[in-house]
Symmetry: C2
Subunit: 300 residues, 2 copies
Amino acid sequence: MPDFDSLLFAHASRVGETLEALLGERSSGAEVMRPPRLMEAMRYSVLSGGKRIRPFFLMECARLFDVDPAVSVRAAAALECIHCYSLVHDDLPAMDDDDLRRGKPTTHVAYDEAMAILAGDGLLTMAFDIIAHPDTHPDAEVRSRLVGLFAQNAGAGGMVGGQVLDIAAESKALTEPEILQLQAMKTGALIRCACESGAILGEASPEEQAILLEYGHLAGQAFQLADDILDVTSDQQTMGKKTAKDAIAGKGTLVSLLGLDASRKRARELLEQAIATLEPFGQRASVLIDVARFTVERKN
Amino acid sequence: MPDFDSLLFAHASRVGETLEALLGERSSGAEVMRPPRLMEAMRYSVLSGGKRIRPFFLMECARLFDVDPAVSVRAAAALECIHCYSLVHDDLPAMDDDDLRRGKPTTHVAYDEAMAILAGDGLLTMAFDIIAHPDTHPDAEVRSRLVGLFAQNAGAGGMVGGQVLDIAAESKALTEPEILQLQAMKTGALIRCACESGAILGEASPEEQAILLEYGHLAGQAFQLADDILDVTSDQQTMGKKTAKDAIAGKGTLVSLLGLDASRKRARELLEQAIATLEPFGQRASVLIDVARFTVERKN
């Protein structure tokens, strides 16, 4: 049994290789021409490292139901396309106006704004092409459910809506329920989606799917709280992106509302709750316990 | 049998009503919250009229195989979401920087840039949610094929790629094959997609599907050529958007390359070719003949 760090690295490598292949220069249709500079900007946006934590959640939830990571990696790569497109668009001057991401210039700095908008659009669109392909799952019913789930979590009622709330949060102080709502949409939605997708790919029972959705909900909250804590306690060098951003932008987070100690306590509580949901899976869920712990205890 | 104009109006109304319902304020999931201002910007972007010509192609191609427009309107509405999102993003300051569309301020002018980017992202994402839903077609295999087809035509090898080529065309003179390639991607892809989707929704034979793809290819070229002619011969009042844009941007079109008379002749030839492809369908395809003719002979 490999240790957790090796497994995280192995899954991330697999996701990277899959994305490399999907974004490769040769395309399947003979008449199809994908502009090289666009493909380069899409590759830049999605192949720049990152922990691939959402794909990890997806692949490990699917593995509970004996889905080989060699298969679930396609849905995982699609989810990562959606995550990375959202980073590219969020970093744009009209939005968060960030010039550094994972220690490298953001896409609109490395290319230009138009290319960043279009690379994001291309990645989001490609995600659905990947999911709909029979290689992702032999049963079209499963693929269709995944498309719907991804779209709902990524769209106006999920991640995109969360970004709208996040921008609005710059000009008003949020209450705790408002912050939880914002985070459940902006970052929580894709993590819940990862866990629920794993269950769907594995053709889990409705009960098992509900457990993993709840696990994803709690792990996502813990992940976000850890992120907010790191934004206050870490530095740009370690994080590969600007820190103390929330305070500078005047954005309320749970950390500014509850304080650092209470936030750390809350993160530990969420972690314990997330782990408790997995109890019905017994020993099989040990990696999901590890990844929940990792999201809270990570240093960047 | 209603005349063509009434049918165009009836289908457009149906598409508008469907989009109204899908973008309605109440959402299906109890916990889902879609930010009101985002929904307003999405509605503004997609409910601002327009001929709904892509939905019309889709619904009428599907009707060849006895698919009721009350059913095909969902896939048609999804396609219109993709078309409208592309207009919103193309109009952004970083891209074509347009402030007028269908006689109204563009989305980033009426709202702001961040909201326009996110409204576009939301519409693109919603399109896939609509297609994946069982109401679009009872067979998940059909829905999956539609998702793949939409994504391929809308993505890097289709519309998004075409926009990249279009931006690049501002700084270099294009040859005729390059212009045809650009147009086949930027505007042709969604029109081909409309026609092919109609065939897929109607569970047409591979031969019938290939005919409609070819029809869509030719009708799309004719449509684009007519657009380029109108850009030169019409005015902003009639078009509801800026005209002579291509010449001002220094963009080569077939009209600047071939001249106005030869372009008109070419448009008529394409129209005749498009009509000829429909011959196997006999009298049943009369509306598709009408719409091809309309795209070439329209005044705006």
